[in-house]
Symmetry: C2
DNA sequence: TGCTGATAGTATGTATGCTGAATAAAAATA
DNA sequence: TATTTTTATTCAGCATACATACTATCAGCA
C-alpha cells in the first residue's frame, strides 16, 4: 500500500501507525464487527448480544456481575445490553429470593430459537474473518491470539473470570 | 481455564465462545485500549485521537473525509473527534478557499508537543500488548494480523484508503 | 446557463465501552 | 448486635462506532 512518491515523505508517520499492533487490532475488530453486522443484521443481533445470550443459555439464572466476568463485558455496560435483550423478549430478569440485590437472568423460548438460528451465521462470520489466511496460518494466528488474550487478561477493566460457583438452584430454570 | 466439574457440562457453550476469532479479537482490542488508557491517561489522549493527530501532523491541511480513509475511522465519527481535539487546542479547522465545503485540518504547536510527549508512551503500549508473546511469536503474529487486516479491509465500513492526491498548497501550513 | 449527481460536513439515534459515584443489601467483624 | 466492608445494581457522563438522512457546495453535462 505505498503512497505516491510525491507524498511519500510526508506520510511516513501515518505509515508507522499501520504497523502498530494497537492500530491493527482495532482494525481487525472493526472488520470482525462489520462482518458480524452484515451476516446477522436480519436477526437484529449484535456480537455482544450473541455472547451474552450464549452465556445465559448455558448458565440459567446467572446474575449480571458473573455474566460480566464470563464474557468479559464491562459491568456497567451489561445493564443496557440486558435492557435490549429483554425488550426483544429473548431474556427476562427475575429477582432472586435468597439475595435481594441480584436479578437472575433467564433465556426465553424465543431467545433459544434465536440462538439456534444465529449459530450457523456466527460460524460463517468466523470463517469470513479468517478467510485471508491459509488453514495453517489460521491455526497459528488463533493460537497466538489466544495466548495474547489469556496472558493480557488482567490488563483490561473487564477481565474474563471463570465461574467459581453455580447459581443457586433456586434461581435456575 | 477449566470450570469446576459440577458445571463443566453447562459451560460448554460459553467455552465455545472463547475459541471464536471474533470474541478473541474483541478481547484483544479491549486489552489494547485499556493499556493505552493507563499509559496515556495523564495526557488526556485516546488511541483514536493519537492516530488522528499523527495523520494531521503528517498531512497538514488534510480534510476530514480523506483523514477518515487514512486512519480507517468512520466518517460520521470524525466530527466528534475533531471537536474534542479542537477544544483541547491541538487542532484547528480552517475553511478552504477553493472548496467551501471543506474545512482543512491543521495541528497546533501544542498538538505537536503532545505528539512528541505521547510517542514513547505509545511505543510502550505496543510493547506491553505484545509482551505475552516471545519475540518470534510477536513477529509471526504481526505478520498474520497485518495480512488479515489488509485483505479484510474492504469488509469494514471504514476501509483504509491511500491518499490519491496531496492537499492543495493553499490549505497546507 | 441550468440541472443533476457526487461530495463534505453535520445531525440524529442506537450500541458498545469505560470512569466514577450513588444506592441498597449482604457479609464480615468488632 | 452494631459497625464496617464488600458486593450487586444502577446512573450520569464521555468517547468511539455505525446507519441514515439532510444541507451546502461543487462538478459535469445538456
Amino acid at each position: 500500500m505505498p503512497n505516491k512518491p510525491s507524498i511519500e515523505g510526508r506520510t511516513k508517520g501515518v505509515e508507522a501507525l499501520y504497523e502498530k499492533p494497537g492500530h491493527l487490532v482495532r482494525r481487525a475488530n472493526q472488520i470482525s464487527m462489520a462482518i458480524f453486522a452484515k451476516e446477522c443484521s436480519e436477526l437484529d443481533l449484535t456480537s455482544v448480544q450473541y455472547a451474552a445470550l450464549t452465556a445465559i443459555c448455558d448458565c440459567d439464572g446467572i446474575d449480571a456481575t458473573r455474566l460480566s466476568g464470563l464474557i468479559a463485558l464491562d459491568r456497567a455496560t451489561i445493564g443496557g445490553v440486558m435492557d435490549r435483550l429483554e425488550t426483544k423478549g429473548w431474556v427476562h430478569r427475575k429477582p432472586s429470593q435468597s439475595d435481594r440485590r441480584i436479578k437472575a437472568l433467564h433465556i426465553s423460548a424465543s431467545g433459544k430459537a434465536l440462538l439456534e438460528a444465529a449459530g450457523p451465521k456466527v460460524d460463517e462470520v468466523q470463517k469470513r474473518l479468517l478467510a485471508p489466511l491459509s488453514p495453517d496460518e489460521q491455526q497459528t494466528f488463533l493460537q497466538l491470539l489466544t495466548k495474547l488474550v489469556l496472558l493480557g487478561n488482567e490488563n483490561s477493566r473487564a477481565p474474563q473470570k471463570e465461574l467459581d460457583a453455580q447459581p443457586l438452584k433456586e434461581d435456575a430454570a
